[in-house]
Assembly symmetry: C2
Homo-oligomer: 286 residues x 2
Amino acid sequence: LPTEPASKCIGVFDSGLGGLTVVRRLMREMPAEDIVYLGDSARVPYGTKSPETVRRFAHEDAAFLMRQDPKAVVIACNSASAVATESLRAELGVPVIDVVTPGARWAVEAAGGRPIGVMATEGAIASGAYQRAVALAAPQYADRVLTAACPLLAPIVEEGRSEDDPIVLSVVHDYLHRMQRDRPGALILGCTHYPLLQGAIAKLMGPATALIDSGQATAVAIAEFFRREGLANPRSGGGQLRCWSTDNPERFERLAGRFLGRAPQSVQWVGADELTAAESPVGGTP
Amino acid sequence: LPTEPASKCIGVFDSGLGGLTVVRRLMREMPAEDIVYLGDSARVPYGTKSPETVRRFAHEDAAFLMRQDPKAVVIACNSASAVATESLRAELGVPVIDVVTPGARWAVEAAGGRPIGVMATEGAIASGAYQRAVALAAPQYADRVLTAACPLLAPIVEEGRSEDDPIVLSVVHDYLHRMQRDRPGALILGCTHYPLLQGAIAKLMGPATALIDSGQATAVAIAEFFRREGLANPRSGGGQLRCWSTDNPERFERLAGRFLGRAPQSVQWVGADELTAAESPVGGTP
């Protein structure tokens, strides 16, 4: 007998560990849902690589998740969302949710007529995806998006530096002090690593700028979408998280707690070369 | 007719762009040699990944180079040298030269009886490869190797920050100030990116610590080895450099100059998935 769509899992992928901040928020919003997470830690990061390469990797990651028969696929990586959402929607036979659009919508609501700031990886900024998503949500903001590419912040989080580390504060200042002067009404944390630096960012930007957590916005958007479409798991709780990593699962397990808020139960390995193995539906994306 | 070994190319690989600092030194020492360089920019960095993953990638990179029929393969990446040199020597049918051993030997000569410092990626430090290489070169140094893992320095170089950038100086200070107090006689720059920060490192360490450029030590060791084995190309010059990248060649070309000291002539793309393909997408040496 086929499985009821509502009881199927949600497939989530990211370039590595950062997407676990999205999973954390998904689990809080929807504690009944089973989640299968793939972190492509062997090829992390995506944010410094070309759109073609990121798109190729994203399709390989999604092909692996599709073999778990999910009811939806979440691109829990801003860099991959920025360049691969459209092609994944065209290819996968299930709903594809990105982390760029929900954050852009929240920012428009929070900005109160002042400019909207976006901090993200080089790749996500260069793609123009945030500028497009904001303009789509509110055309009057089209030319009022301030951007800051912040290539060192993800490695800084992965290194485990605390928010009051002087190096963290000076790097955050270096990237954001110009934007701060324009007093944006909202600032999108456009990389799944940045919620871990929220305190340092808030300290610089001040209380008049609302910080938008893309992962939180995405989790709320998915919960609404599932309710609307009758895809929400009807259980009252008991959702399971299964994690896969393309790099050594031990390192993944050791570092995951910082992003997930607790240790993951079990992490398994899958080779990056094996993501598209067997009867995978992935096509040749250039 | 088979090609004379001496006229064959040298195959060089790295996780990305950093290995071009080694190529630069090879070209200066041996201007007659043809070099084929593979930068695995789609999967960079290697230094934060597990030994198993790095070894797997290194073997895939080397398999690609072997299709170019080289007279020797150079592992121009300290992280890959640290974990894959032995297995590559066992597998490839040509001499394999790593960047760890030559630097360790130079450091022993330069240290003048004082401790030897090593700064490198997390993976290279955790492997213990430098400690072993120093102990092999001079057993009396076995317990006098000071180490510093410096995960942010490679991303800082790739970002293009200058040596007098306050963030560069404070990160260098953060990683090395404890080691500086032990006044090492020599400090091995154990990552191909670090020669670009030589000024900032020298400023902190002071004139009593000799900075050892692994790439320079390796280039000299290879030149000696070729002369000894009759493998040196007898031409007086005219060596060509051909570059391959697993990520977009345009980004590679744009950033390569900083590492190579000049723009590379041409960069071609090869998919990471295609590195080990049965049929070579390319011809042999010209």
